[in-house]
Amino acid sequence: MNATSTGPGVVSTPGTPLVEISHLDKSYGAFKALEDMQFELRPGEVHVLFGENGAGKSTLIQIICGVQNYDSGEYRLFGEALTGLTPAMAHEKGVSIVFQEFSLIPDMTVEENLFLGHEMTGGWRLAKSAMRAKVQSVLSRLGFHLDPAARVSSLRRAHQQMVEIAKALLWDCRVLILDEPTASLTDQEAAQLFDIIEQLRDEGLGIIYVSHRMPEITRLADRITVLRDGKYIATVNQCDTSEKELVQLMTGRSFENFFPHIERTPGETVLTFDNVTLQSGLAENLSFEVRRGEVLGFAGLAGCGKSEVLRAAFGLERIATGRITANGVALEKHNPRKALSNRICYFPSDRSTEGLAMHQSLTFNSTIAALDDPVFSRGKTLLNRRAERGFTEKMIDKLKIRTPGLTAKADQLSGGNKQKLMIARGLSREFDVFLFDEPTVGVDIQAKLEIYDVIKALTEEGKAVVIASSELAEVMHMSHRVLVMREGHIVGELDGEDVTENAVLSHFFDHESESQAEEHHAP
């Protein structure tokens, strides 16, 4: 290993570090979230936290910004040893955070959200015009085209993410924490964000950046701290390391072929879209077939309509014209019940609102879709709780779900494990078609690999798999056939060998509108 491990004290740095953490422990009951953790953030650097789900990244940043307390160890912020830090205190001292889960109030406007907790006032009254001016200046500095008076619930996810970022940068801060900020941004929006991050770094801010995305890490990071299973592994300089080495450090195993090779054995057609147009107008004139034994991918930019196609296949979108056929039978007045009885299974991208019952146990969540199956019931009405437990245990084992126990609640799991829990539910009964909407969004590399293995296994068993993903590499390498969408239309179909990055990308942008977009964004 040619990386320089830089424990605190080994390297001399100009000025005091902004954040200094040493020998920090934190446990939730018997579960050790962080053990003997160390971390250091200097002014003017982007420090990436890198690790699998459950490695302790979220816990660490929550401790830094005062949301969580720690059990023992030392945390120095701006050279000052701290105990009992609260989010309000941290904010006052100059620590701002962009959360992975949205921390916005949906029924309030952009402006109200930005100032939440720190409103400007003149006497008793809110200083509304002063706040408006400040919002305008911050938004224009960031280059975000947002209406300050728009209600947050009316914005798309990417725009909500921008509000979240603007909220963190509204006030002068010295430490900025970004927890997977690009998860729902398009590449263009993400590039804009990177420029801002670099600008802030040059202004002397310390930036903690949590991400799974290699290109982002390569572009932004100065140093990288790798965590595994709640333990500190190493801190390396970005210029001295490689992707391969990082993955090795993170997983503790070597990084060979990232995407699995999936055998293609096209069988009968199980799902057909025949010139389908959605009532919402988000996707039009869709015609395609889904076959057993192969993976069909939907590629396109965020908001191109690919998720809506999957939602429509599962009966979550109203159809204006056209026809969806499953196993040769037309699905009239399609709805999720009908989809399930036609053996179609759907994994939504937004796991917290559509996927899981967050306050219920793992067992509850893994078998809820199959309680009418004789395996899980006794007689017609009673639950077979032993069978439920048995199935859940088997799934935890098979999918390597990391959990404190069977009775743990879904929201105690990390992103990747939530996704695996949803897959466990999909495996609880017999399905022919599996629809994955953004199967690995917000998921780390280890969990990604495990999810890919599940997709491979399903396909090779002869199931039909459909993936919609904004991650180009993922759709390209996982799919046998790729349909590229743009503005609600299927604009290209690529098969087998033809699925190349250039081929897909050339369909991504309408060349005319692309040049227009560039003009539009020119400063």
């Binding site: 949301v67 609260t86 989010p87 309000a88 904010h91 959360f99 949205f102 921390s103 916005l104 109030i105 949906p106 029924d107 309030m108 109200e112 939440l116 907790g117 720190h118 409103e119 006032t121 008793w124 009254r125 809110l126 975000f144 085209h145 947002l146 209406d147 728009a150 619930s153 009316s154 914005l155 725009h159 921008m162 263009q188 929006e189 919402s280 979550l316 979108e317 109203r318 709805n335 977009a517 539009h520």
Partner: protein, 334 residues
């Protein structure tokens, strides 16, 4: 890439969106009533409607605050009864103790009525915000206890012996033709409107109800605002209790028994969302007027009072259905 919603609704649509459907419905109801039943427009009748609306508006304002922070206050009706009994008892007690000054008796009596209300509010807020118990269960509990105490103390008989100043002047007196409670309601409305639109406090109530976790992450002391909402609700119910006691001229343990349901109805019809985070005082005030006009109209038309509740129930369901329809259409899910 523009963030501003692409679809611009028509001008009428925008106006309707800004003021809502309630003022229109209220106007139509009034016009129809005036045409069908001229007695509706008599001054004495209009003052009557306004008085009822004022009682309703004050108590519903408190209910609104609690619903905005994502809760429910079932205990408001019982607080009215408790306030009535305890203020009447303290006034009677002070009189028998030989206190001469009537204003003193009334002042201390009102205080004696508001203190139990405050205690109930503090208890509600404590159990909901600190102990994290469901607001529904907590306020059912305190409601039962408050009603029980009021009933036990009075032994079921009304309490008289209150100063004339209280029963005659405050209860039936007028200032420029209007009962005092109308002014009280106007003051409450103006203060709450100012709070909701112009102050941090108002904004924090919305934030806590809209997304408690996000508010906490933004550094708000969410417990404080939830607690405060329950205290304000109880105090506003207490104020209604005092005015009602003055109006009927005796302290009664049965006073305000229907106000709990009515206050929730007024809030819901006024567009306060049960999921929390949404609700404006001016709409609640309109809604209180609407409900008063509706029951007044039905009385004038000699509709049996049993039918009143049926019709009001129907109106509530329509209001809630309209709210959830709007909500669904906005989020665009099937």
């Amino acid at each position: 890439m523009t963030a501003i919603a692409a679809s611009q609704p028509s001008r009428l649509g925008r106006v309707m969106k800004a003021i809502g459907i309630l003022p229109v419905v209220l106007l139509i109801t009034c016009v129809l009533l005036a045409l069908y039943e001229p007695r509706f427009l008599r001054t004495s009748n209009l003052i009557n409607v306004l008085r009822n609306a004022s009682f309703l508006a004050i108590i519903s304002a408190g209910q609104m605050l609690v619903i905005i922070v994502g809760g429910f206050d079932i205990s408001v009706g019982a607080i009215v009864a408790l306030t009535s009994v305890s203020s009447a008892l303290s006034m009677a007690g002070l009189t028998s103790m030989g206190v001469e000054s009537a204003p003193m008796i009334v002042f201390l009596g009102c205080l004696g009525g508001l203190i139990p209300a405050l205690i109930v509010g503090v208890a509600n807020g404590f159990f909901v915000s600190v102990m994290k118990i469901s607001p529904f269960m907590v306020t059912i509990g305190t409601m039962t206890m408050a009603a029980g105490i009021a009933g036990y103390v009075t032994g079921g008989t009304p309490i008289y012996d209150m100063p004339e100043l209280f029963t005659r002047e405050i209860g039936r007196g007028r200032l420029m033709e209007l009962p005092y409670v109308v002014y009280a309601a106007v003051i409450v409305l103006m203060v709450l409107w100012y709070m909701q639109t112009q102050t941090r406090l108002g904004r924090y109530f919305y934030a806590v109800g809209g997304n408690e976790k996000a508010s906490r992450l933004s550094g708000l002391n969410t417990r404080k605002y939830i607690w405060l909402a329950y205290i304000l609700s109880a105090l506003l119910a207490g104020i209604v209790g005092i005015f009602l006691t003055a109006r009927v001229g005796s302290g009664e343990a049965t006073l305000g028994s229907n106000l709990m349901l009515e206050s929730i109805s007024v809030a819901v019809i006024g567009g306060v969302a049960l999921k929390g985070g949404v609700g404006r005082i001016q709409m609640v005030a309109l809604s209180a007027i609407f409900l008063s006009v509706l029951s007044n109209g039905m009385s004038l038309a000699r509709i049996d009072s049993k039918y009143h509740i049926i019709i009001i129930g129907l109106v509530i369901i329509i209001a809630v259905a309209a709210e959830s329809y709007r909500e669904n259409r906005r989020s665009g899910h099937v």
